[in-house]
Structures are given as C-alpha cells and as structure tokens.
C-alpha cells in the first residue's frame, strides 16, 4: 500500500517503546528516527509543537503525539491483531487501567527516583499501594489482556523493564516476589515475549542513565 510510517523516539524512552511494541505486534513496517532530546530536531518541533516530546508517530505525513493517543490511533488504523477487547464495557475497563498506570503508578515510581527523604518514602509507599491494585486486577489472568498482550500490558510494560533497573539504582525494593506474585510473574512473562525482548534498551546503559538523572535532580535541590 506504500504507507509511510515513521517513529520518532530516543534509545531509552519507555513511552516510545509502547509505540514500537504496538507496531511490532501488528507487524507494521516503520522507519525509526532517534532524537537527541538535548538537541531536538526541527522536524520533532514541527510535529509536536505543544509538548516537544517523543514519541511522535508519522503516518502518511500526518503526525500524532502522546503515546497513549498513538496506541489508540494504531488500534483504529490497523484492525488486525486487536489490542483492545471488542465489548464496550471491557474496553472501558482496559482504558481505566491504562489511565491508572499513568495517573498513579508512573508518578509514584518517578517520584521515588527524583525525591529524597520523606517525600521519597511517601512516593515509594504510593507505588506499593498502586502495585497492590495491579496485583488484584491480574487475578485469574496471566496478562492484563488475558491470554494475549493487550493495550494495558503495553501501557504498563515499562514496569517489566524499569522496575529492576530502579531497584538497583535506588537500592529500594518495589515489586517483591512474595508480596506481588502475580505482578512478578507478569513482568517475567511480558519481558520474555520475543517482540518485547528484542526491543529492550541495554540494561547497563539504563542504570547509568537513571543514576545520572537522580544525581542531577538531587544536586538542584
């Protein structure tokens, strides 16, 4: 069909990985453009003038920004290998957990990285509380999408990669095997799926990156 699909990303952005996974799962061919966020390309600024961030998906010269918006666009455009259930109530439930991941899980984990002292403790507590709810949601399922990866797995998939990196960087436990057996099993299962495994950024580089981010943030406080 000669469709032009391009993904603007960085080597490590967990948000961009979501787009990569969705396209790879649906077998869509695309060109990758790596951005240096300290020196953003004119194209990126043109395609995402509001947020100036990655990822951006370019499809037939039309740009789409915001990873979760891009996931829904991919789902609307390429209808094979669906990532969302057909039933409207189940779709609403999937979207609920995707939003939960963005609004509760991610900020708590991020703040555990960026804060210290009492603020870090509170962020860590909030993260653990959010994991309890994810653990509940996994009851009776091996993946959030059921038998196959769905949009919720893709949206939360950053946990499967970054949690162990951040546990090393912060010397802090997030997802204990005994406290969160289902979530731990999900992380292992997700990380091992070939399409997912092939696109993990190098772990040692990630550790270095997050150590640097934390040090830079603490230095400005």
């Amino acid at each position: 069909m000669g469709e032009e699909v391009k993904v603007f990303r960085t080597w490590s952005s967990p948000f961009a990985l979501r787009v990569v996974w969705a396209l790879d799962l649906k077998g869509i061919k695309y060109e990758t453009i790596y951005e240096d966020l300290s020196n953003k390309s004119p194209l990126l600024l043109q395609y995402n003038p509001i947020h100036k961030k990655v990822p951006v998906l370019l499809h037939n010269s039309k740009p789409i920004a915001e990873s979760l918006v891009i996931l829904e666009y991919i789902e609307d455009t390429w209808k094979h290998r669906p990532l969302l259930p057909q039933d409207p109530h189940q779709r609403a439930n999937a979207r609920f957990w995707i939003k939960f991941g963005e609004d509760k899980v991610f900020p708590a984990v991020r703040d555990s990285l960026l804060k210290q002292g009492k603020e870090q403790e509170e962020a860590h507590e909030a993260a653990l509380e959010s994991f309890k709810l994810l653990e509940e949601e996994l009851k009776g399922k091996k993946l959030f999408g059921g038998e196959e990866i769905g949009m919720v797995d893709i949206a939360l998939g950053w946990l499967a990669n970054l949690v162990s990196v951040l546990e090393e960087v912060l010397v802090l436990k997030f997802i204990d095997e005994h406290k969160f057996p289902l979530l731990s099993a999900w992380m292992r299962l997700f990380a091992d799926i070939p399409v997912i495994k092939q696109s993990w950024p190098p772990r040692d580089k990630l550790v270095t990156k997050y150590i640097a981010i934390r040090e830079a943030r603490l230095a400005t406080n």
Binding site: E66, I70, E72, K99
Partner: protein, 231 residues
C-alpha cells in the same frame, strides 16, 4: 430501555460529571442522576469505584464505568442514537483524544493553580499558564473546526465536551480574579464565540451550572479545603 438501567453517580458542580451528562444527552439516553451529598461518599459510589472513590461513575445494567473521558467514549460506543461524539476518521480521532488529554493534563491543572496560588507571584505565573493554554486551544479550534461552530464540526464532539465542561469554572475564575480569560475582543475571539454556542446547545444548557451558583459553591469548597489543611 428502562431508566433505571442507566444511572450516573455525580454532583452538579463537577465539570467531570458534566462531561458524562452532556454525552448522555447527545445520545438521548434516559438516566437516573444519583446526586452525591457534598462532603460524604455514598455506599453505592464506594462500591462502584473502589479504586478512586470519585465521581462520575456511570452504571449501565449494573456495571460501573469510571473516569469521565472513558465514560464519554463508552457512551459514544454503546448508543447509536443522536450524533457521533468522536469522529470516524482515525487521524481526526487522534487529534480529538490529543486535545482532550491536553485539557486534563495541562489546562485544567493550570486553572486549579490559580485558586491554589499561595501568593500574588504564583497567581500571576498560574494565570500566564492559563492564558498560554487558551492561546493553544484558540489556534486548535481554528484548525479543527474548519469554520464550523464546534471542535466537532456541526455537532458537539469530544474536544467540545472535554473543554466545554470547564467553562462554568473558567467563568468563576474570571469572576474571582476580575480578569477576562475568554476574550472576544482580543486574545480568544473564536473560543469566546464557541463558548456561547456550546452553552446554549440543548445537550448542555440544562446541565451547565450557573456561574453565580457555582461561585457560591466555590467559596464553600475553598473554606472546607482550608479547614482540612490549616496552613
């Protein structure tokens, strides 16, 4: 379908509840409005939204749907009467979702920032954020509406609902700060006109809170919040 098949748990001042009401009105869905009492949460709410314990919650044949924009998409997918809320073209849908997310993640927090500002300097900074947000939305309106009255074109769409639901609170903010944020003459001529058209739409006019009534409620709300968090 029996009215009791569709219930909406909410409260009249909430812009998020308003989104759900407008969506249901667009689809001509009969529903029971279960009004939460200010300051307390009903058993039904706690049971229906155990994770967040927040309104709105849509109950359809007993099953709960939470989060206002998720409810709007659910209503659009479930009822085919009335007009479509999201466009049919995937790219247009992405644009609609992008701006709805912008309203929730950037614009609404900047509005809250004005009320929460601890001093004049912070208030000025928050106001500047709101003004720049409105400038983005003004430009977006021009591109997306393509000369039609709404972001959604001839009919109210997803962005109209996401942003329009905040208009009463925006007007309360104008009242308390003495500033014109939606300005016909200068900064946001298209949005000022759109706001009027939106508020007069039959799906909106019966449920949009009156500015005066909301301003009184706002006073009550802030007093209560200060009571809870003595500074």
């Amino acid at each position: 379908m029996a009215e009791s098949d569709v219930k909406l748990i909410g409260a009249w001042p909430s812009p998020f509840v308003l989104r759900a009401r407008i969506a249901l009105n667009i689809k001509h869905v009969d529903y029971e409005f279960v009004e939460e009492k200010f300051g307390s949460k009903s058993e039904l709410l706690l049971k229906s939204n155990p994770v967040h314990k927040k309104i709105p919650v849509l109950l359809h044949a007993g099953k709960p749907i939470c989060e206002s924009l998720i409810i709007v998409e659910y209503v659009d997918e479930t009822w085919t009467s009335g007009s479509s809320i999201l466009p049919s073209d995937p790219y247009d849908r992405a644009i609609a979702r992008f701006w709805a997310a912008y309203v929730d993640e950037k614009f609404f927090p900047s509005m809250k920032g004005i009320a929460a500002a601890p001093n004049e300097e912070a208030k000025k900074a928050a106001l500047e954020q709101v003004e720049s947000g409105l400038a983005f939305l003004e430009e977006a309106f021009g591109k997306i509406s393509k000369g039609k009255p709404f972001f959604g074109g001839e009919q109210i769409g997803h962005i109209d609902i996401a942003f329009g639901s905040l208009l009463a609170w925006l007007r309360v903010t104008e009242k308390t700060t003495g500033l014109k944020l939606l300005d016909q003459a200068k900064t946001t001529p298209q949005l000022a006109k759109w706001a009027e058209t939106f508020c007069q739409h039959p799906a909106v006019s019966g449920v949009m809170p009156e500015t005066e009534k909301l301003a009184e409620f706002a006073k009550l709300l802030f007093a209560k919040m200060k009571g809870i968090n003595p500074q």
